[in-house]
Symmetry: C2
Subunit: 338 residues, 2 copies
């Protein structure tokens, strides 16, 4: 986030950094300057126009209303307020207008997996009216934070060089647990040489919180409360950049050529789709970039009005900090022009 | 295959090994004995009851009819004959009876990705009538043969230990190409720290041969020529065991509990599905085993009569050699009882 705020158009006067007492007093680099980190307190929000929260749900639930009471508009990256009907859930390319309707003074930033496909689906929906989405995810380790990234690198170091691993049930699990211990992973199974069909917490009906977020947040962002959505979330041994296989059905007939043109014209979508020549997006080729990358665009052979897409997006940029920065900039523009 | 033939019930008299001239004269271990490899010739099939072919499509196309003309029934693991209406495509748990209707004397073994889900879908279809399937695959490197496995291990050795990789577009690609060269991979992009949405060859409409095999072979095996199928095939950095996210719609209402019971009762399906306790199948936990493993069984919230499943199966066993051995055993039984 600090890197993004340092790189994007500078619309901010002061940037005030706030963290727990443990980090207070440190200095962090923003816009080429070392900036002091303040301890979280009620007063620290005095004079703040836009407060960007990147904290756990419970901290956001407690402190966002306090920041609002001190005069700030809060952009919250947690899940605490996303489904609150009085809190807009904003993807600037899709529903920028909703940011002005914020009775609680809070604007929510969507979940990274949902965000991975929103720019592309939003552009297609505007033209052909989305009716249903079936999604399978290929989610990167960094979706679980730095601890997830560290764990993947740790596990890769354990398994690399042993060309017997991954061939007998349990061999990778034993190797990883022998070297790294049986606890300490944010993932529910070894991630090296594996895929793990679990992200988030357990919910009713066997669903994960992550899967239900994809459904509920997609509906809210697109303004389609009855949109049919089914998602299965799977973690893969990729550092950063989520990928999604999307089976999207529209109200009207859509051709691959028209869809490609619409996606190419969407300002934040990049189409890489000449698969016969090896051109399609993959995580390691697009990580660190801002756009949503789309490839493998096909018309479903047996399902009317349906496209198949492979979508990649950096879960730390558009999937988190970038979208939050874009929301904050919408607010800054509003506050300086009204 | 030789390992499987050595482990399973021994229904064979002689096992004769045949290969190209290059390998002729070698000895390979089968059923605890060293067995001479013969060079491929017309005469080598004389006296053979069942000839199991594991060769490229063009070799199968040329030599399977020759083996048949010499009196053998051919079990072919290639794609050469799978969609031929005069060749049964057999998964013994699903359509064993079709093996007897083989006007060309050839029986085909399905593609590994299709086979990964057939036992599970076959059991569910028998009770609730399958109408459509949307599939996203997580396919292992060994689907591309030993060269795929070697490449994955090579790439893992290159990337392990460098904790900056996977964070900037192209860094993994450059690291891999610097060490391993720009050619020589059977995959269309780096596989380490990545997922690659491409398997097979380019077909009309942006589809891959692998994706169309899943559609066409599923229809043929289940005897449902109008089954709606859409598949997206993605390679992942797993050594062996394909995983599939399956969104399956049936003609009749199906509950998770009934589906679970049906799958548990299917002899070759194992259900691992207590995700709150971390119980779901993953490739490294089931590799090397014969069954189809199913977890994450959920009722789709917005799609009637629809289940979501996560399915894992060893692509070298049930996905290839095991199913071929099972077909051969059906033939051996028929030939010894008629």
């Amino acid at each position: 986030m600090l890197q993004l705020l340092s790189q994007r158009a500078d619309v901010w006067g002061e940037i005030r950094l706030v963290a727990s007492k443990r980090s207070a007093g440190k200095k962090l680099r923003v816009r080429g300057e070392d900036v002091l980190v303040h301890a979280l307190s009620e007063k620290v929000f005095d004079g703040v126009d836009v407060a960007m929260f990147d904290v756990p749900d419970d901290v956001a639930r407690e402190w966002a209303p306090i920041a609002v009471s001190r005069g700030a508009v809060v952009v919250d990256n947690s899940g605490a307020f996303r489904m609150d009907p009085d809190v807009p859930l904003v993807v600037p390319e899709v529903n920028a207008g909703t940011v002005r309707n914020r009775p609680l003074g809070i604007v929510s930033n969507p979940n990274c997996t949902t965000l991975t496909m929103m720019d592309a689906l939003g552009a297609l929906h505007a033209r052909w009216s989305l009716e249903s989405v079936v999604v399978a995810s290929y989610q990167a380790a960094s979706g679980a934070g730095q601890v997830g990234v560290d764990r993947l690198y740790d596990e890769l170091e354990v398994v690399a060089g042993d060309r017997t691993l991954g061939t007998v049930a349990g061999d990778v699990r034993r190797a990883v647990e022998d070297k790294l211990g049986e606890t300490g992973s944010p993932f529910a199974a070894p991630l090296a040489l594996n895929v793990v069909p679990w992200a988030g917490s357990a919910q009713d009906g066997g669903w994960t919180s992550e899967e239900l977020k994809v459904r509920n947040e997609s509906r809210k962002i697109l303004g389609l409360p009855d949109l049919k959505v089914s998602a299965t979330c799977v973690r893969v041994p990729v550092v950063t950049t989520h990928s999604l296989v999307v089976h999207a059905t529209f109200a009207e007939q859509v051709s691959v050529e028209e869809a490609r043109t619409t996606l190419v014209q969407a300002p934040t979508v990049v189409v890489i789709d000449d698969p016969g020549s090896g051109d399609f997006p993959t995580p390691v080729d697009v990580v660190g970039a801002d756009p949503t990358f789309v490839g493998r665009i096909r018309q479903a052979l047996d399902f009317p009005n349906t496209l198949e897409l492979f979508v990649c997006g950096d879960n730390l940029r558009k999937g988190a900090a970038l979208n939050a920065a874009q929301i904050a900039e919408l607010l800054a523009e509003e506050l300086t022009t009204t």
